[in-house]
C-alpha cells in the first residue's frame, strides 16, 4: 500500500475520536497495512498509558460480585448470532458487518453517467453512513473540495488525482483545504467507499446543483 491516512487521522483513530464512518475506513485500511498498524499500536499504547495513569477516585461500585452476576446472566442469555468474517474476502473485515463478504452483493443505483452509488447507514445517528461508488474506467468525478474531511478507501480498481494513484487498500485523506478531480485509471471499474464530515463542494455550478439533490 502506498497511500495512507494522515498521521493525525491515525492518532485520532487510536484515541477513539473519529466518527464511526471514519473509524470504519481507517480500521479497514489498517487491517492489511503494517505501516499504519505500527502507528495505531503506538497510539493504543499511548491511550493505555493515559488509562493506567487516570486519576483514580476510589469508587465503591467496583464490586467484583456484581460483575460476576452480570457475567453469569450474560452466559445464560441467548447467544447473539456471530458474523462469519472472511479473511480472504476483497471486503475488509471491518466493512463486512455492513455489506457482507462480497462486493457483488452491493445494491447499486444510478448516480451519474458511468457512476453508480450505494449508501449504507451504519448507525442510528442521522447522517452516519458510508457511500460506495462504482465508477467506469477513465470516468472523472468533477473537481471538488469539501466542507469537512473526506476519506476514500479503494476496494477494487484504482483512481488518480493530483496526489498520485490510489489502488485497492489505499486511502485518500482530504480535508477542507484540498480540491481534487479523481479519474479512474484502472482497466476495470473502480469501487471505492467514502466517508465525509460534510458534503462535497463542486467547482461547477451544475455539479453543485446535482449534488444538492443526490448528496455525497
Amino acid at each position: 500500500m502506498k497511500q495512507h491516512p494522515d498521521l493525525s487521522t491515525l492518532i485520532s483513530y487510536s484515541s477513539g475520536t473519529l466518527s464511526l464512518a471514519f473509524s470504519t475506513l481507517v480500521a479497514s485500511h489498517t487491517e492489511n497495512c503494517a505501516h499504519c498498524k505500527e502507528i495505531v499500536q503506538i497510539g493504543n499504547e499511548l491511550g493505555a498509558s493515559m488509562m493506567e495513569n487516570a486519576v483514580e477516585k476510589k469508587e465503591k461500585t467496583q464490586d467484583y460480585n456484581v460483575f460476576l452476576n452480570k457475567l453469569n446472566n450474560k452466559n445464560n442469555s441467548p447467544e447473539i448470532k456471530k458474523i462469519d468474517f472472511d479473511l480472504n474476502s476483497e471486503v475488509p473485515v471491518s466493512l463486512q458487518r455492513y455489506i457482507g463478504n462480497h462486493l457483488d452483493d452491493i445494491q447499486w443505483s444510478f448516480f451519474a453517467p458511468g457512476i453508480q452509488k450505494s449508501q449504507v447507514k451504519i448507525s442510528d445517528k442521522s447522517n452516519c453512513h458510508l457511500t460506495f461508488l462504482k465508477i467506469k474506467p477513465k470516468k472523472k468525478i468533477p473537481e471538488h473540495g469539501h466542507k469537512g474531511g473526506e476519506l476514500t478507501l479503494v476496494l477494487k480498481g484504482a483512481f488518480d488525482d493530483q496526489n498520485g494513484t490510489y489502488a485497492a487498500g489505499d486511502i485518500a485523506d482530504h480535508d477542507m483545504s484540498t480540491h481534487h478531480e479523481p479519474v479512474v485509471s484502472s482497466k476495470e471499474d473502480c469501487i471505492c467507499v467514502i466517508a465525509t464530515d460534510g458534503p462535497m463542494v463542486f467547482k461547477s455550478l451544475i455539479a453543485n446543483m446535482y449534488q444538492s439533490i443526490v448528496r455525497i
Binding site: 498498524k37 503506538i42 493504543n44 493515559m50 460483575f67 448507525s123
Partner: protein, 182 residues
Amino acid sequence: MLEVNKDLVKKFQAEKNTKDFEVIFNYFAPKIKSLLMRSGADGAQAEDLMHDTMINIWEKIHMYNPDKGSFSSWVYTIARNNRIDLLRKKSSQPYTDISEVDIASDNDSGLDIVEQKSISAHVKKAIELLPLKQRRVIELSFVNDLTQEEIASELSIPIGTVKSRMRLAYQKMKDNLKELQA
C-alpha cells in the same frame, strides 16, 4: 495486592478462572471507569461500559497476543471501542475492528513490546518529554475525548495546527520511545 503481569494473563488465558480474573478486574476496573468519566460519561454509564469491557476481556481473552502489544493496550482498545459504540455513536451494530475479531493474524504490530510495566512506564515518560503544546493536544484527544475540531475550538487554534501538533507529537513520542527502550 496481587499484580497483573504477563504470567497472570497467560495463566488466565489457559485456565480462565474467576480467581485470576478478580486480580485483572481489581486492577483495570477503576482505571477504565475513571478514564470513561473523564471523557464525559456519567457514573452509571461509566459503570455499565466498564462492566461491558470486563465481560469482553473475559470472553475474548484467547485473542490477546502479547507479540502485538501490551495487555494494557489491548484492554484500552476494547474500552475505547465500547465507548465509541455506546457513548457517542449509538450504533445499530456493535463497533468492532480487526483486533477484536476472532481470527489469528500473522501481522505483528512492528513494535518491540517488552514487559507490560516497562512499556507503560516508557510511554508515560515519552509523553512527559513532549513539548507542552503537543502534550496538551494529545491529552485533549485521549483523555478528554475531543475531536480535532473540538480541540481547535478549545485552544483557539486552526485545525491545521491541531493536526501538525499531533503529527509532531507522534514523531517525538516514537523517537523518545526508541531512546528509552534502547
